[in-house]
């Protein structure tokens, strides 16, 4: 599927270091997000999972604001 999508994107130069920094932060946000969402679905206490997810989001969003544009935070 991915090569199919690659035909429809702009080929831009990027730093591999920056990419892997973001991928690492993304893994953190996805993992903490899955735990948070699972606890919400099973209606367990979500305070700790919610705080961890909030921290992961904050790290990701600060990086986006620094290396991208604040408007990128709008999705």
């Amino acid at each position: 599927m991915i090569p199919l999508y690659l035909l429809h994107v702009t080929a831009v130069e990027h730093s591999e270091g920056l990419l892997w920094t973001f991928v690492t932060c993304n893994i953190f946000v996805v993992t903490s997000g899955i735990i948070f969402m699972y606890k919400l679905f099973t209606q367990k206490k979500v305070r700790v999972a919610g705080i961890a997810f909030g921290i992961a989001l904050a790290i990701n969003y600060i990086l986006i604001a620094i290396f991208g544009d604040p408007f990128d935070l709008l999705g």
């Binding site: 999508y5 035909l7 429809h8 997000g33 969402m37 919400l40």
Partner: protein
């Protein structure tokens, strides 16, 4: 009544998201980058209004049960996860010119969960009243339909943009035109053309059957589809007036819930008739150049008919399994 006011505010929130996302889809057929991202700001206003309403429920549970509130929160969390993933996707591959990209699908799924959560809350808190088309059920059904149909905007905007492009009348900006090396594929987002009718029939039939099953009402899916088509025409008129790219409005979608309404049951025959009617009218519009539609081929009627007939069958099987389990439970 405070309860209705609360859910009316949710309708406004989703309407802002609808306007922002439709504007964004049209925008990117003309411009690549945006300086102030106005369509995204409109979308975010809807997201923020919903966030305030959700926060209110977390502070003091008043208008919905806790599971519905948690479902909406899951939708919000998933949407917020989608933003950094989409950003990374853009770093790796650049700006994607398709609604069908994997990270964009996170947004659609997240929004669908939000709508479902709000609708569930409304459904449970108004359960003493039989769901009717004159209630907010029609709005929530319409928002869910819009969310499911959103990826098709690539084909529906693309059909008109492609026609303008090959006739040398493109209104796209130079930076978009510079990127186009394979117009037939790029403008339609890299998706094979058979996906459009098959995806439409699968989603609309599934949504129709589920609404009828849950709400026990045949009119809500019809009025939701009418409302959706009406709002798409309003959007098209505004975009045409301000020189933005317009889209084909999928008018034939209405035939699917309409046939279920006329049959008054969710049988395989109703599903088959509705999906075949949807496809044949769309094909006629395309074949006789009545309107510019996404490209389709006649053979696609086969998978369309099979899916249209299968969805009600699967729905009835799931119902039977649940009934069997219930019967086996000790009294």
């Amino acid at each position: 009544m405070k309860l209705l006011k609360y859910y009316r505010l949710w309708v406004i929130a989703f309407l802002l998201k609808f306007i922002g996302s439709a504007w964004d889809a049209s925008y990117h057929f003309k411009y690549l980058f945006e300086e102030y991202s106005i369509p995204h700001i409109v979308n975010t206003l809807g997201f923020a209004l919903g966030g305030v309403l959700l926060f209110q429920e977390w502070r003091r549970s008043q208008y919905m049960d806790k599971f519905s509130r948690n479902l909406i929160t899951i939708g919000y969390a998933l949407f917020l996860i989608g933003i950094p993933l989409d950003f990374t996707y853009h770093i790796a591959y650049g700006i994607d010119l398709t609604t069908w990209s994997p990270t964009h699908f996170i947004y659609y799924i997240a929004t669908a969960i939000m709508i479902f959560g709000v609708w569930r809350g409304y459904y449970l808190y108004t359960r003493d009243i039989k769901p009717a088309w004159k209630s907010m059920h029609t709005w929530f059904a319409m928002f869910l339909l819009e969310c499911l149909m959103f990826p098709n905007m690539q084909q529906e905007n693309g059909a008109i943009s492609y026609d303008q492009f090959i006739n040398g009348k493109s209104i796209a900006s130079q930076e978009i035109l510079d990127l186009i090396s394979d117009p037939a594929s790029q403008i339609f987002g890299g998706i094979p053309e058979f996906v459009y009718p098959i995806y439409s029939v699968l989603m609309v039939t599934l949504l129709t059957v589920l609404i009828i099953r849950i709400c026990r009402d045949f009119t809500i899916p019809v009025t939701a589809a009418v409302l959706y088509i009406l709002l798409r025409f309003v959007g098209k008129a505004i975009f045409a007036a301000v020189g933005y790219p317009t889209s084909y409005v999928p008018i034939t979608l209405i035939l699917i819930p309409l046939v279920f309404f006329l049959f008054k049951k969710t049988s395989w025959l109703a599903g088959l008739t509705g999906s075949v009617a949807y496809f044949l009218v769309l094909f006629a519009i395309h074949k006789f150049d009545i309107l510019i539609t996404p490209p389709i081929e006649l053979w696609e009627i086969i998978p369309v008919a099979i899916i249209g007939a299968l969805v009600p069958v699967v729905n009835s099987l799931v119902r039977s399994q649940q009934a069997i389990k219930k019967d086996k439970q000790p009294a």
